[in-house]
């Protein structure tokens, strides 16, 4: 859990070390490939398939055929095409939310851990309050208050409810790194607090931050999907979450096409996040040499 940062003195070939670390754990390597694959179909899909997916109301829930590889949905639209187009929104929102959470956590955690004093007290208290309200409850409340939302706002809400745990671990790490000699040296040189925090201390936590980012993206996607399943987010035509929700609401899983309509996007979401989870374990091996010894 707690990845202690390690200052590696001599590292011959960062890229080589990275590749070696990645292939070290088989499951992590496979996870990485899955993530790459899904990212590829998500962002290349729209380029290949085109975003025009015409309705054909006379042919709802068609079984898979040569024309429609995965059949059609309730509006007679091609499910395969919809699947290819539907990843952009959930995955982009997930990355954006994860990014927001990590940035907030880095800034608050670093400031609290380095400066201590009243900033630390305030940050700890706010963290405590936000941590105790279950994140999904907080998100649902905010979304019901704010009514209509676009993807950016959804990402912002998820990101702003997801930072507390990370803030605490970054704070703790900054507090321990602060005591190291190189920080002491920087302080004696009068380099300025901002520079010491962001240039001297934070680079030592890159591995931890990358892993935390992946966890945050993972959690954001889950929260997002949860809210889609609840039907809380606005309907958008091509979106894996919306597909699962609308198929489920219509009890569509009793037809072949309906089952595919739910299962295919669900499988892609789960595969993507499983990929992220295993990938994260691989990265842990790279960034945390102590784990390797065990």
């Amino acid at each position: 859990m707690s990845a202690t940062p390690t200052v590696v003195d001599d590292e011959p070939g960062v890229f080589k070390r990275f590749l070696h670390g990645m292939t070290r754990s088989k499951s992590g390597f496979v996870g990485g490939l899955i993530v790459l694959f899904i990212l590829a179909i998500t962002y290349l899909g729209p380029l290949i398939m085109g975003s025009d997916n015409a309705q054909d109301l006379r042919n709802p829930w068609q079984d898979p055929s040569g024309d429609h590889w995965l059949g059609t949905n309730k509006f007679g639209q091609d499910i395969f095409q919809q699947t290819m187009l539907g990843g952009v929104q959930p995955i982009s929102v997930g990355f954006l939310a994860g990014f927001i959470a990590v940035i907030v956590a880095i800034v608050l955690g670093a400031l609290a851990g380095y400066l201590r004093g009243w900033i630390d007290t305030v940050v700890l208290y706010v963290t405590d309050v936000v941590v105790t309200i279950p994140a999904l409850v907080l998100m649902i409340m905010l979304i019901s208050v704010l009514d209509t939302l676009n993807s950016w706002q959804v990402a912002l809400i998820i990101g702003l409810t997801a930072w507390p745990y990370l803030t605490r671990s970054i704070r703790a790490q900054v507090m321990s790194l602060k005591e190291r000699e190189f920080v002491e040296a920087a302080r004696l040189q009068d380099l300025g607090k901002g520079r010491i925090i962001f240039v001297e201390i934070l680079p030592n936590m890159v591995g931890f931050i990358i892993i935390s980012f992946i966890i945050a993206v993972n959690n954001a996607i889950y929260a997002l999907v949860g809210m889609y399943v609840l039907g809380l987010l606005p309907y958008t035509e091509n979106n894996w979450g919306v597909m699962v929700n609308s198929g489920w609401e219509d009890n569509a899983f009793y037809t072949t096409a309906g089952l595919l309509y739910i299962v295919v996007p669900l499988a892609l979401i789960i595969l993507f996040t499983i990929g992220l989870i295993t990938l994260q374990r691989s990265l842990e091996q790279i960034f945390n040499p102590r784990l390797r010894e065990r």
Binding site: V137, M141, S144, V229, L230, V244, F253, L259, I274
Partner: protein, 367 residues
């Protein structure tokens, strides 16, 4: 909570010898202050949440009193009367000075009075929460209990056979299980088990109870309640177990590397005794606090599970209240959930501080 502080005194005698430079009386004060600090901290957190929900209500783009009054007027209530009824039900008067509203709200909240529900049958918010609470407590509680017992046991076994075949198979699965949210697992469970393989029919399993079953201490009631809660329980248990296995595996592995275990072995103690008295006890200790946190996250996740299963527990209640803008319920639920998590954390901290004196001394780093 003040009673807790004083009641902790008798245990002081049993605590390990204090550092040389401190006299016992100072020690005692230090220790008392740790508990006191935690209590104050917890109460203040709850206070902040209560205050936060008050201002959140105020920040709503739509005034709930206005909305309620409008709907009453639409139903034929006289406008003057409608406003006073709305104020009474939501338990605040939008025309009063903000500070007065705030203190009235605080006083009411302390008395457990959160106004009346706005949707469905009109009743005190607290009554509605109490009606839904047992069901979530039952399903989530059963799920967590299974997960903890099973997870701790398997985790310990894995630690003893590290890198063995069992470990190599189970650990990655546990990792994935820990990472998947309960509602996605439930969806897969229903799709595979019910729709695809036809092992069970999920539609009649929805809801809390079958319509013909009466609540009471009967075999029929308990059986039916279990039948309806089964899928949520499985979903909670399976998704939480993985995390417990991994945590337990790592803490056990850590303890196994400690010198006192080696010494115990060298002394020729029986393996069974080492496993339970030396390793098991010390490995479980650091894991205990996480139960409290698991509670909070699971209740959050219960919202989606209960919605899928139409299981009328706190999660579904909260979801429907939010959906229908039933502000008093949302507000009370937020306070209720937060207080539960805060008190669980407090309890765990106090228990842990008694079990492990280091915590009391390093309370500053206890973030």
């Amino acid at each position: 909570m003040a009673t807790d502080t004083t009641s902790s005194d008798p245990a002081v005698e049993g605590s390990p010898p204090s550092p040389k430079e401190h006299k016992p009386s100072l020690w005692r004060r230090l220790r008392r202050s740790y508990v006191l600090k935690r209590v104050i901290h917890s109460l203040f957190t709850i206070y902040l949440v209560i205050t936060g929900t008050f201002f959140l209500l105020r920040a709503m783009p739509r005034d709930p009193v206005e909305e309620m009054a409008n709907s009453l007027i639409a139903n034929g209530t006289h406008p003057d009367q409608a406003y006073s009824v709305a104020r009474a039900r939501i338990s605040y008067d939008p025309d009063a000075p903000l500070i007065q509203q705030y203190f009235e709200y605080l006083a009411n909240a302390l008395r457990g009075d959160f106004g009346t529900t706005l949707t469905g049958r009109t009743e005190p918010v607290l009554d509605r929460i109490m009606e839904y609470l047992p069901w979530t407590l039952f399903s989530v509680g059963a799920g967590i209990t299974i997960a903890v017992v099973f997870g701790l046991f398997v985790g310990m076994v894995l630690a003893y056979r590290r890198n063995g075949l069992l470990d190599q198979i189970v650990s990655p699965i546990a990792g994935v299980m820990a990472g998947i949210p309960n509602y996605l697992f439930l969806a897969v469970l229903i799709l595979v088990g019910s729709v695809w393989l036809g092992f069970f029919d999920y539609a009649p399993m929805q809801g809390r109870l079958s319509p013909y079953v009466e609540v009471g201490f009967t075999f029929e009631f308990i059986g039916d309640a279990l039948y309806h809660a089964m899928l949520p329980i499985i979903a909670y248990a399976v998704t939480v177990t993985g995390g417990w296995m991994l945590t337990m595996k790592s803490t056990t592995a850590e303890v196994l590397g400690e010198e006192y275990v080696t010494v115990a072995r060298a002394r020729g103690l029986k393996e069974g005794r080492i496993r339970t008295q030396y390793v098991g006890r010390n490995a479980i200790l650091p894991v205990v606090p996480q139960i409290a946190l698991a509670l909070g996250t699971i209740i959050g996740g219960a919202i989606v599970v209960e919605q899928i299963m139409q299981y009328k527990g706190l999660g579904l209640m909260l979801f429907e209240a939010t959906w229908r803008h039933d502000y008093p319920v949302v507000q009370a639920m937020t306070i209720f959930l937060t207080s539960a998590v805060v008190f669980a954390n407090l309890l765990v901290d106090i228990i842990n501080s008694r079990l492990d004196p280091r915590i009391r001394l390093n309370s500053k780093e206890g973030a």
